[in-house]
């Protein structure tokens, strides 16, 4: 590594480190990963208990269940929490194993797109059931 003393550059020290990620951001990522792991765990316990208590998992039962606010709202939270958590976790895996800068950038870009798109589909489905007014047929 060349140091500032030996390297002739027009760039300021700040300009040289910009875009390489900052301090604090890593701690925030770590903390949010922990926070979403707790919320995801609590919501999945609710989810598992709710499913096991349902008389069945047929179309009508699931639809009627998801129409109630006490099922739809936790389900929406579960989707946000889960997709947020998996995005943070997958990002760490990518950062650890994809070393080439271009592929890493592209992988994280795709991860962000896929996570938001996946969560949007899941949220839409729950909202459609909850606000749609009853199962079809």
């Amino acid at each position: 590594m060349e140091t500032m003393e030996t390297m002739e550059t027009m760039e300021t020290p700040l300009a040289q480190v910009r875009g390489l990620g900052s301090a604090r951001e890593g701690a925030h990522h770590w903390w949010t990963e922990r926070l979403t792991s707790v919320s995801t765990l609590l919501l999945f316990i609710w989810f598992a208990v709710s499913l096991l208590r349902l008389p069945g998992l047929d179309y009508r039962t699931v639809n009627e269940w998801l129409q109630g606010p006490l099922a739809a709202v936790p389900m929406l939270l579960l989707i946000v929490s889960t997709f947020w958590h998996l995005k943070l976790g997958m990002q760490v895996v990518i950062e650890d194993y994809v070393h080439e800068e271009g592929s890493k950038f592209l992988s994280i870009l795709l991860l962000n797109f896929a996570t938001v798109a996946g969560a949007a589909f899941a949220l839409f489905a729950v909202l459609k059931i909850a606000l749609g007014g009853g199962p079809h047929a």
Partner: protein, 132 residues
């Protein structure tokens, strides 16, 4: 070479023995990636099928209750329990506890035993319910 024995050695990165803590560590990643991909797709599919109507839901149920779906379901539930238990172990280690060699090894092993046990319990419950 002369060495002062009271000073610590630098870590010998090439000298190590396989242990349960290593297995649990890599399993946390593997199960996390599995849940994030296959698990997320399964969740989206289930919700979209339920929102799209009885025909879509019937297609989902056909796959989910077939042998392939049950195999994936068993795999995903094991991955969930393994990831959950090693995640809880991470919380303990995050506060700086559980690093003593024997205790660390014990709880690493317990996540492996626990995930298999919880998976067995869950599927015993589900398959027993499907019969009745």
């Amino acid at each position: 070479m002369n060495r002062n024995p009271s000073r610590p050695l630098s870590p010998h990165l090439s000298i190590w023995r396989w242990g349960p803590h290593m297995l649990v560590s890599i399993l946390h990643r593997v199960t996390g990636v599995g849940l994030a991909t296959l698990g997320a797709v399964a969740l989206i599919w289930w919700l979209m099928a339920a929102a799209s109507g009885p025909d879509s839901y019937a297609t989902f149920l056909h796959w989910a209750t077939g042998w392939f779906g049950i195999l994936v379901g068993i795999g995903l539930s094991w991955a969930f329990f393994q990831h959950m238990l090693s995640g809880l172990r991470h919380f303990v280690m995050d506060i700086g506890a559980g690093y003593e060699l024997s205790r660390n090894k014990f709880w690493a092993n317990m996540t492996l035993v626990g995930s298999v046990l919880l998976t067995a319990l869950l599927w015993a419950w589900i398959l027993w319910g499907m019969r009745g």
